[in-house]
């Protein structure tokens, strides 16, 4: 097992450099924005990775809260399954639900994928481990979010001459960043023995907040239109190809970072566990 890490590391490094090469050289130059548009190949994959990590954090937190009691655990399983079925059926049954530019099948597949992710986490992570997973994905997610919030303005500056635009996606990412930083602050400052429970509750609240954040800023934008980062609408297939390569590279990189951070967390808890056991055995003569 230990050997796998360096190999994967090398593979990811290779993939990343290949993706960088693609982004810098192979991808066609964007007519209006020119070379600067290539930041797109780092900005968007980082954002997608961050959102995926936060979603995993949400799933892990829900599981931590739900698996404490077998009854709620079963209910949650059924709720997740129904959500999965709904995301499959709804886009076909009610076509109006499908937003412009998205195909019903893509919504269905993402629905199934996310439900699959829930049961994947359930299988591979014990109850205590979901808490470690939640902490890891939150921390690494915040790092990726910081990258997005740094590269965003760096892209807006040359194109629109302003550092910050209240663009829907960028602002939602900022709010998401604030929520998960407050999550990490809560974990650091909590003095209760049950920090994971508090953190899981806040994570669920944070995740409930995301759609509301998105819709409120989306409507806010329609009333005060401002330039949109990355331009919506259709995208040149070759660009999409490079984008997906970059995303794959970043996903592997994120996986490695999460894995090492997870191992660090597990080691930290094992050390704490042994120290606690030692404290348990040696008599507290000091107090006498």
């Amino acid at each position: 097992m230990k050997k796998a890490f360096p190999i994967l590391g090398l593979l990811t490094a290779g993939l990343l450099s290949y993706a960088l090469y693609e982004g810098l050289v192979v991808a066609p130059k964007e007519q209006t924005m020119g070379e600067v548009q290539r930041i797109f190949y780092y900005h968007v994959p980082s954002a997608w990775t961050a959102f995926l990590l936060f979603f995993i954090n949400f799933l892990a937190s829900v599981q931590y809260l739900v698996r404490r009691d077998p009854k709620t655990d079963k209910i949650a399983n059924w709720v997740v399954i129904t959500i999965g079925v709904l995301t499959c059926v709804a886009p076909y049954a009610i076509p109006s639900l499908v937003p412009a530019g998205a195909r019903a099948s893509s919504i269905a597949t993402t629905g199934v994928a996310l439900v699959g992710l829930y049961f994947l986490i359930k299988k591979f992570f014990s109850e205590q481990e979901t808490d470690m997973l939640a902490l890891t994905t939150a921390e690494v997610g915040v790092v990726f979010c910081t990258v997005v919030l740094v590269t965003g303005p760096l892209w807006a500056r040359p194109v629109w001459g302003i550092w910050w635009t209240w663009d829907v996606r960028l602002t939602s990412t900022l709010v998401l960043w604030l929520i998960y930083v407050s999550y990490l602050v809560l974990r650091r400052f909590s003095s209760s023995g049950q920090t994971p429970v508090l953190a899981a509750a806040l994570a669920v609240f944070g995740a409930l907040d995301v759609p509301l954040v998105y819709f409120s800023i989306w409507f806010f934008r329609t009333q005060h239109p401002q330039p949109v980062i990355g331009g919506g609408g259709s995208i040149d297939p070759r660009m999409l190809h490079v984008l997906l390569i970059n995303w794959l590279a970043f996903l592997c990189f994120a996986f490695l970072v999460c894995w090492s951070r997870y191992r660090l967390e597990r080691m930290k808890r094992e050390v704490e566990e042994t120290q606690a056991l030692e404290a348990l055995l040696e008599p507290r003569s000091a107090l006498r």
């Binding site: 960088l20 070379e35 600067v36 290539r38 930041i39 780092y42 900005h43 980082s46 690494v140 790092v143 910081t146 990258v147 740094v150 590269t151 760096l154 892209w155 500056r157 040359p158 990189f253 970072v257 090492s260 951070r261 660090l264 080691m267 930290k268 050390v271 042994t274 120290q275 030692e278």
Partner: protein, 41 residues
């Protein structure tokens, strides 16, 4: 063009900074484990 390189550099600066903190926490933990073993043996 420079903004492009600044953006790439910034991205990796952030990632590497984070990895450094992880590695430093890892080594501090390793030392603690060694001390515990030394104290026990």
């Amino acid at each position: 063009m420079t903004y492009l390189y600044v953006a790439y550099a910034a991205t990796w600066a952030i990632h590497i900074a984070y990895l450094i903190t992880v590695v430093r926490r890892y080594s501090r933990l390793k030392q603690e484990v060694e001390q515990m073993h030394k104290k026990k043996s």
